[in-house]
């Protein structure tokens, strides 16, 4: 029991540290998309730490698991995690969005080790991920393909085209995560183009569906232990998340889609994150 609790505490510590690194990286570069990166941190940290069968020393191994970040604007989270796992030196994070950097505001697969597909324009990465999963089937490779899309991204028609193909070809080696943070650029998704129930939609498209709290590690551990389900269907995890998760004044606020904190706000943010880091370290020492 205590061991389980420690695992969760360790993951929470890690995700808080990752959030701090993301914040410092984006603010340092005068970049953007802090809140979009924050809503996916927990899912990504869990995937890269516990689930994906990958080797930074051999990033092109054909038998590796693949993760595609279809909502490319959340890439700051991916960059920090890839660097933490040794896909490229951590100092490269300092060059983020600068001249000559390999790390731009959206990920480029041809230049960043560990990035499986270039994304940025919405509704692209998922189709590519379906191609990866189909290729694994015909190449008789047992590895899995994971893809994360945003809830706003599901406005794009290609998401549903790809969903049909995945179900039709029985891609039970494919797991889709919908980062359902409920917010788009101009406001709440329900007020812009109401997605209604993602679970119902994917169910109707022939998928296994499951819904979790995307910031709760008990949920994440539980669900990723079960998926992909070997029943000839692809699986979707609807991860209920909070945009800007981890910094109180950013959470659930559409303005923070692209805003950068001023000095005072930055201080508050770091105080909150550092406070949480200290608290988690203390709990872990007990």
């Amino acid at each position: 029991m205590k061991k389980d609790k420690n695992i969760v505490l360790e993951l929470e510590l890690k995700t808080t540290q990752v959030r701090k690194e993301i914040l410092e990286m984006i603010v340092g570069a005068k970049g953007t998309h802090i809140a979009s990166a924050f809503s996916i941190v927990d899912v990504l940290v869990y995937l890269y730490d516990k689930i994906l069968n990958i080797n930074p020393q051999d990033p092109n191994n054909p038998k590796r698991d693949k993760f595609v970040l279809s909502k490319g604007h959340g890439c700051a989270a991916l960059y920090v995690i890839l660097a933490n796992h040794g896909f490229f030196p951590k100092r490269i994070l300092e060059s983020y969005c600068g001249q000559g950097s390999i790390l731009g505001g959206h990920p480029d697969s041809t230049r960043i080790p560990g990035v499986e597909a270039s994304t940025g324009s919405l509704g692209h990465g998922f189709s590519v991920a379906v191609g990866f999963a189909l290729a694994n089937k015909i190449n008789k490779i047992k590895s899995k393909v994971y893809c994360l899309v945003g809830d706003g991204e599901c406005n794009e028609g290609t998401i549903w085209e790809a969903s049909m193909v995945a179900a039709h070809h029985k891609l039970d080696n494919l797991v889709l995560i919908v980062d359902d943070n409920k917010l788009m650029i101009s406001g709440f998704a329900k007020d812009i183009l109401n997605p209604l129930s993602f679970s119902d939609k994917f169910h109707a498209f022939g998928w296994n569906t499951t819904e979790i709290d995307g910031h709760n590690f008990s949920d994440l551990i539980n669900v990723f232990n079960k998926v992909p389900i070997k029943n000839s269907k692809p699986t979707v995890i609807i991860a209920n998340t909070v945009k800007g998760k981890g910094i109180s004044y950013m959470e659930n606020k559409k303005e923070w889609y692209s805003m950068l904190p001023n000095e005072e706000q930055m201080e508050t943010a770091l105080k909150e994150l550092n406070g949480k880091i200290e608290m988690l370290k203390m709990h872990l020492q007990k």
Binding site: A117, T119, V128, G131, A135, E161
Partner: protein, 314 residues
Amino acid sequence: MRDSFISSIYKVTKLNNNVLCIVGDIGAFLLRDYIRDFSSNYYNLGAAEANMVGVAAGFAMSGKIPFLYTITPFITSRCYEQIKVDVCYNEANVKLIGVGSGVSYGTMGSTHHSLEDIAIMRALPNMVIISPSDPLEVEEAVFAAMKYQGPTYIRLTLSSFPLDYDRGKFEIGKARIVKKGIDAAIIATGDMVAIAIEAAEALKEDNIDCYVVNMHTIKPIDEALIKKLSEKCKAIISIEEHSTIGGLGSAVSSIISQYPKNKAVLKIMGFEDVFCKEYSSDKLKIFEKYGLSAEHLVTAIRNLYDKSNYKKRY
């Protein structure tokens, strides 16, 4: 050309099992032998072309060589951003095969025409564009595309009879000289090569000796040959079953207009910024209507040739 693609894809798959034939719900009858013999290389991903291109990029990045086959507008303009991002930006080894290019679907109307495809595909970094002029060249193009590592677009038109000339080896980016000349050069692509040959023959009566160039690769274009012709000939005429904006003519123009040794005037023939609103099962009638028949070409060259002589006198 379509039948030639069908037999060529069979041959390349037999040679290389990584080749896949992916269709957007067309050609099932024509491809019946392929489907029978290579069932695991064949995918019909439905009438959802944007996703089809993305999936193909995933295949290509997993070591496969997907050939995507459907009607030209649906594999070019409809899914343009997927071609840009998923294929070209990712440097994915995807082959796009457009069937019935230009106004080949003569009775179907503008939704099924493609008079802008070369223009938009030319603008994409990493994209190779091949526009074969006869069935044999389709086969050569398909084999070349299979061996070439990188995004490739093959633009199939209708021509079903083989052109008779000493064609030599097919090489991506190296134009074929169908006929040598002195005075003028016709640079043609696709079905227009046959029309160019006919026009050059007719111009013999005027003592105008024309080069006929089969520009089967539009990107990378044979810059060296175009430069050479621009030094040698007084007039260059490009002709294509495509808009005059952004296609073969634009490619030729951008080379010679920046070439200090250029001596040729250029005439770009194609569809002049219009939708083709003529219906006919005989494509030649459509060409006639839009000023793209052999006769039109002859007249254009006569005019140009007179003008360039005129210039020469002063």
